[in-house]
Symmetry: C2
Subunit: 458 residues, 2 copies
C-alpha cells in the first residue's frame, strides 16, 4: 500500500534497524561513565557524531544530538538569540518556515523580542533581496529553511548566508527536508535537522553550531551534548540515525533523479486529469520528492480519507482537516488556494507504477468528494452592486464552491459579493480568482462576517 507522506516521516531505512539492534545490545550504558560498558557506549556515540558531522558538513565538536528536529530548532534559536542578546533582540524568519520555527519566534515576541517575517513569492520562494533588506543592525539571528516541507520549494540559502555575513548576522538553516539529499550550501552558522525525515528513527534531531558563533546554552543547565540537549541519550536511536543518513546519502543522487521525474509526472498530469486544480510551489527550484496541489470545490479532509480508502497515504494543508483548524501557514503566505490541498511526498524506492496508479485513482477521488458538496445551501440575491452570495455559517470549501457555481450567472464585467464568516475565505477567494482568471476587488467588513468582491473577467 503506497505511503506518499515522506515529508512527514519515512518508514525507517533497513540499515537503521540493523544499527539500532547492534547499539541496543552494546550501547545501553551511560557514555559519561568510566567503566567498560560506559566507554563502549561513548565510542558508539563518538562514531555516530563523526559520521553525522561529515554528512552535515561540520566538525564533530560542532554537532549535538537532540531529541527531535523541533528541539534542535527551539534550542538553536533560543541559544543564538541569548548569545547575541547584546547585539539586539530582532529575529528574521521566512513566513514559510516550519511551525517549530514560527512557534519559537512567537515565544521570542511574547518575551519582548521583535520578529520580521519575510514573505515568499507565489511559488513559495524567498527573494534574496527581500531577505537582505530584512536584516538590521539589531538583528540577532535569521532563520531560513533549505527547502519547504509543504511545497518542496528550495530557498536561496547561500545568498541568505552571504547577506548575513555582510550584515554580521548568523544564519540558522532548517535543513530538515533537504539533508537526505545533500548538505546545504556553506556559510550557515547554525543548522537543524531531524532523523525521521531521512529514514532514521523518530526521537533524534541534529543541532550544529559553528565554532565562533555566540551561543548561550538554554536553562536549566545540563552537562550532556555541550548543554544543548539535556537528559540521558537514546543512544541506539542516535546510532541508527547516523547509519541511515549515510545509507540514504549513498543512494541520494540516483534516487533524487528518479523521484524528480515521478513528481514531475504528477506536476504535469494532475492539472490535465483534475479540472480546477492548481499545482503549487516553484516548478524548478524544488526538492525531488515533494509535489503539492490544491483542488477547487473539494474538502481536504474528505479527500485524504478518499485517498486513504484507495490505499494512498498523503497529507493536506487544508483548513478542513480535523488535525488543524487553520489552513497551512505556508499556503497562506504564498497566497495560493488551500482548499482541497494534497501534498504528495514520495519515499525513496517509490515505483513508477504506484505513481501511475495514484494518478489513475485521483480524478475519481476528487470527483467523489466534490459530488458530496452539491447542496451548499448558500443563498443568492441581487444587490445594489451585482449578485450577493450569502455563505454565512458555511465552512471551507463551501464559499468558493458556491462562488464557482454562481459565477456563470454574473455577466462578464459584473461583480459578485460573497458574504462569509469563515476566515479561510479571505485566502481562498483571492486564490480562486487568480486560478480562474477573475479579478479580486477586495474585502470589507459586513454586518455579519466579511464581504469579498469579485469581478467576472472571463
Amino acid at each position: 500500500m503506497p505511503y506518499f507522506d515522506a515529508a512527514s516521516t519515512l518508514p525507517p531505512h533497513p540499515v537503521a534497524r540493523e544499527a539500532l539492534l547492534a547499539a541496543w545490545d552494546e550501547g545501553w550504558a551511560d557514555p559519561a561513565r568510566l567503566y567498560r560498558e560506559g566507554r563502549r557506549a561513548r565510542m558508539l556515540l563518538d562514531a555516530a557524531r563523526e559520521t553525522a558531522a561529515e554528512l552535515v558538513g561540520c566538525r564533530p565538536d560542532e554537532l549535538s544530538f537532540t531529541t527531535s528536529g523541533t528541539r534542535a530548532l527551539h534550542t538553536g534559536i533560543a541559544g543564538a538569540l541569548a548569545g547575541r542578546r547584546r547585539t539586539g533582540r530582532h529575529l528574521v524568519v521566512s513566513a514559510v518556515e516550519h511551525s517549530a520555527v514560527l512557534h519559537a519566534a512567537a515565544a521570542h515576541e511574547r518575551a519582548g523580542g521583535t520578529v520580521t517575517e519575510v514573505a515568499p513569492d507565489r511559488g513559495g520562494r524567498i527573494g534574496p533581496g527581500a531577505w537582505a533588506a530584512a536584516l538590521r543592525p539589531d538583528t540577532a539571528l535569521a532563520c531560513l529553511q533549505s527547502a519547504n516541507h509543504e511545497t518542496g520549494t528550495e530557498q536561496p540559502v547561500a545568498e541568505a548566508a552571504e547577506a548575513g555575513r555582510a550584515a554580521g548576522v548568523p544564519l540558522l538553516v532548517d535543513a530538515a527536508q533537504s539533508l537526505p539529499w545533500g548538505p546545504p550550501a556553506g556559510g550557515w552558522s547554525l543548522l537543524a535537522a531531524s532523523a525521521h525525515k531521512w529514514g532514521g528513527p523518530g526521537g533524534v534531531g541534529l543541532l550544529a553550531v559553528r565554532k565562533g558563533v555566540r551561543f548561550a546554552a538554554p536553562e536549566p543547565s545540563d552537562e550532556r551534548e555541550e548543554g544543548r540537549a539535556p537528559g540521558f541519550p537514546a543512544l541506539p536511536l542516535v546510532v541508527a540515525a547516523a547509519a541511515s543518513l549515510r545509507a540514504v546519502r549513498a543512494e541520494a543522487a540516483a534516487e533524487g533523479q528518479r523521484l524528480r521525474r515521478l513528481t514531475g509526472l504528477i506536476r504535469d498530469r494532475v492539472p490535465e486529469l483534475v479540472p480546477d486544480c492548481e499545482v503549487v510551489g516553484d516548478p524548478v527550484r524544488r526538492l525531488p520528492h515533494i509535489v503539492t496541489f490544491s483542488c477547487l470545490y473539494a474538502d481536504g479532509e474528505a479527500l485524504l480519507h478518499a485517498l486513504d480508502r484507495e490505499g494512498f497515504a498523503v497529507n493536506s494543508g487544508s483548513s478542513c482537516t480535523s488535525a488543524t483548524l487553520a489552513p497551512s501557514h505556508v499556503l497562506k503566505a504564498m497566497g495560493v488556494l488551500s482548499e482541497g490541498n494534497v501534498r504528495v511526498s514520495l519515499p525513496p524506492g517509490t515505483g513508477e507504477e504506484e505513481v501511475r496508479r495514484f494518478l489513475a485513482v485521483l480524478p475519481g477521488a476528487v470527483r467523489g468528494v466534490r459530488d458530496q458538496l452539491t447542496a451548499g445551501g448558500a443563498v443568492t440575491a441581487d444587490g445594489d452592486d451585482g449578485l450577493v452570495l450569502d455563505t454565512l455559517g458555511k465552512r471551507c470549501p463551501v464559499p468558493v464552491t458556491e462562488l464557482g457555481r454562481v459565477i456563470g450567472r454574473v455577466p462578464v464585467g459584473g461583480t459578485v459579493t460573497v458574504l462569509s464568516d469563515d476566515e479561510v475565505a479571505g485566502l481562498d477567494i483571492p486564490a480562486w480568482c487568480h486560478l480562474r482568471g477573475h479579478e479580486y476587488l477586495g474585502e470589507r467588513p459586513a454586518p455579519r462576517g466579511t464581504a469579498y468582491r469579485v469581478r467576472r473577467t472571463a
Copy 2:
C-alpha cells in the same frame, strides 16, 4: 561481568527489545495523521500511555511521554511554577534531589525566583517537620524525590504531600529510582520518572500532571503531548518503555526482597572487610537495590578503575572522579565522607555469587588504592596550638589521608590543625572526625587556604 550501576541505567529488559521491534515495524508513522499508518501508530501510543498510567497510578490523560527523566523534571517544574506564578515564586526542594531538579531550581533563582533547600539528616532522609516548615504562602511548588539515587534512602512522600495539601502547595515527586518497585504513595500533584532506570530504553521520560493542578506548558508551544513534550515522538522507545515497566513490576515484589537481602549483605560485610569504611544512607527506609559506602584514605576514581579491572562496574560520588570536579551534592548535604565513595546498585537478576565475589575483591582493591597514596608529601610542624599539618596544594583524599596518618602523634585531648586549599576538605575532615570519633572544632581562613581544627578524643 557484573554490572552494579543500576541506579545510573539498566541494561534493557528483554521484553523491551521485543516491544521495540514490534513498534519499529508498525509504529514509525506520525500518530497525528489520519491515514492508516498514522492511526496504527496512534493506537500503539494510546496503549503505551494506558499501560504506563496504570503503573504510575494516574489517568492516561494526565500522563505525557517526554524524551528523558531530566526533561520531565525540567518541564514539570517550569510548568508548575509558571502555572502558579500569581501565588508566588517560591520553590521548595530537598537538598538531595537529583541534579536535574537542582539545576531547574538554580535557573528559577537566576530568573528572579526564590528557592529553599531542605536539608536531610545524616542518613539522607528529609524530616517531615522540616519539610512542612519550609512551605510558605508564596510557595508555588515543592519537589521531593521518592527515594535518593545515591543512597537509596526513601523520603516521606506521603507526609510531604499531606503537608502540601494543608498548605495548598502542589508536590512534584521525582519517582525515577522507585517507580520500578511500585507507584509512590498517593497525594502527589506531579510526578516524573525515567524509563532507562527500570530497564526501558534511554530517551523516554514520564511526566504526570494531575487534573486540576495549575500548569502552564512551556514555550515555544507545540501540539504534541498536551504541549509538554515537543517534537516527533520516539514511538518504538515509548512502547518498549511501557512494556518493560509492566514486566519489571510483575517481578518487583520477589526481586525486591531478594536484592534487599543482597544489599543488606553488602551493608553488613563491607565495614567488617574494609577498615575505615562508612556505609551511608538510611539503613531501614531504603530501596532494595542501592547501597553506598565511603572508604577513608582512598581516591574514588582510582577505586572505580580498580573495580573495573576486576570486572565490576560501580559509580562514585567522590570529587576525585574525572567526570565531576565537585563531590556529590548528596553526600555533602548529608555531611558524610565523600572520599573513596562507592555506590553499588544491583540490577534485577543479580546473583548472590556475584555479590560475594564483589565482597571478595573489594578489600584488595581498596588496599591497592590506599597503597598508592603512601607518599602524601604533607608537612607537619608543631604550632602554638598543637600539631599543624600542611596539605596545601594537595587534592582529596590527601588531606584526610595525612590526617589519619598523623593523628596517632597527637596526644589524647590535643589538637591538630590541617591546612588545605581543597574545598572538599571542608566536607571530608568533619566526616572523618564523625567516623573516627574525634572532635571537629571548626574551620577558619588561613593565610593560604583554610585551617581545620581537630581534637583527638580517642
